[in-house]
Symmetry: C2
Subunit: 360 residues, 2 copies
Amino acid sequence: MRHLEVALGERSYPIYIGRNLLDDPEIITRHITSRQVMIVTNETVSPLYLRKLEVALQKYSLEACVLPDSEIHKSMDSAMKIFDVLLKCKMSRGTHIIALGGGVIGDLTGFVAACYQRGIPFIQIPTTLLAQVDSSVGGKTAVNHPLGKNMIGAFYQPKCVIADTNTLLTLPEREFSSGLAEVIKYGLIRDPEFFEWLELNMDDLINQDLDKIGFCIERSCLNKAEVVSADERESGIRATLNLGHTFGHAVEIGMGYGEVLHGEAVAIGICLAADLSNRLGWLTDEDMARIVDLLKRARLPTTVPPTLGVNDFLEHMSIDKKNVEGQLRLILLEKIGRATLPMAVDQNQLVETLTAYGNN
Amino acid sequence: MRHLEVALGERSYPIYIGRNLLDDPEIITRHITSRQVMIVTNETVSPLYLRKLEVALQKYSLEACVLPDSEIHKSMDSAMKIFDVLLKCKMSRGTHIIALGGGVIGDLTGFVAACYQRGIPFIQIPTTLLAQVDSSVGGKTAVNHPLGKNMIGAFYQPKCVIADTNTLLTLPEREFSSGLAEVIKYGLIRDPEFFEWLELNMDDLINQDLDKIGFCIERSCLNKAEVVSADERESGIRATLNLGHTFGHAVEIGMGYGEVLHGEAVAIGICLAADLSNRLGWLTDEDMARIVDLLKRARLPTTVPPTLGVNDFLEHMSIDKKNVEGQLRLILLEKIGRATLPMAVDQNQLVETLTAYGNN
């Protein structure tokens, strides 16, 4: 088992990574101090892993809330369903709530944990690569609003993160690739060695080499933990984790939540950010090609969906948490392994990139 | 102008108390660092004070969201309406949001501020006595759930609190008395001198002596600020601020949100808590009588509404944030000026109190 720590003073917590972790109840129970426990999961994950978790936690007073799958359910309506169950079961302020699933379940459950009775302890058990390398770590919780992704949320850290890599064996190919987009992102923004390692080992990752995948999750989490420890509430460096995300959110909203997977949208967004960085004279043509090539080898899309035009992007990007007083700001790349802080971009150059990549 | 500080490290903030504060824009504008500002208020307060505030803030890019009045609108639906306006107006993460109104508007707006883009700055301009002495100070924000008051919320501190006592001149008598319940509470839980001062000066307060009211607000805020500074997230002493509130919440839920004012319900709750404390042999008959007498002089109810039975109380009190693993816990009084921490109570003695005060 690999083990690392997110250093945040009294809110520090461990991340455990490895095979068969769900078969070892002690890893979870050492972090539970209450009698009442609530598990939140979805209809895809529950037939696979809910029973196993319930057995591990049989000594507790246990409730489960099973939601429909997909990004479309990362909504306030879903949050209210969980609040309903918590209150109907008279769950008290000490109750531990466990997110068993991907990024949607983790973000949603974390938000509910942050708000229920003004905050109850929660535990992340991410079952997708994307959640294991990114969304379960760092305490960003949220639900979507029809006008913007993650617009309603809280910074709220879990008590621990348990990433059982066995769960990736049941993950659909497309979901696995979606997680690789965030993995590649870490290489791009701050870890050029890791980017090179990914270039060398992408085929093994795609072929489900769980040891290499374990390394890959650990290295991703190490990168994220360092950034989050330095800037928990995103007043500076943490924003670089959003490389490709402003474009990506526009793709997700423009296509309708759930049509394009989050990592797929981020992959497209990384291409657009790289293209803009290239036009600004920072990123070389060669590095641009390396990025697109690695994303393709991860089976990720690198072009904009045909139904999304330049104006769709401009509209959807006008609502973004990094924007300041209506001015769009983007994370760009100085080179592979080095990202900029959010920066205002020239509208003409942005339109050039969107036009070159886009559909009208 | 009276001025005090809530000491919470880097989250410390000032409370300003006095007449005509809304006529001095600088008091507010010194705390606003953004161009975008959103005011949230209700249909009762907006005709009285919204225009004045808009004039004071005319140099900003200003939006207002006017909600219906009453506790029934302290709901997630109302919060979503504010999120809708924030997003439609493309309000960015730097936007300052101002709560102009009573406790409902303050709690609701604070919750929206805590969650919008994971947290934006907010300012409290309380216009009721209850909000000025209690709910605007201390960072408890929340909305109600049909099964429990304040069950969904966050600890989130404002940038400042501006209590213009002139606004109390337009406050309905019943609302003013509701605020006095929380004022009397501070005397009961930790400030016996203040309780005596209230006994001497209650008639002047009722007769709208704004100087004495100003003192009364300052003394209440001082008490609250000390408690909150010592225990921001209610792991101990802060719970004493909830004297009468567990019974009170049961009255509010049992009667339907908005039927009984919050302070009225708290007044009834204080009587029940005092009665139980008396049965436990702590509070003397004489002190019990002093408490009921002072509440009556503040024109507050001191008996349980006839439609609420013992079982209604037991049911509604079974969901309370102070409960631990299903065990009901209450704040009681050792004497006037000294409250207990939340304590488990004997069910039989509780039923005795409820029966003596109740209706079946």
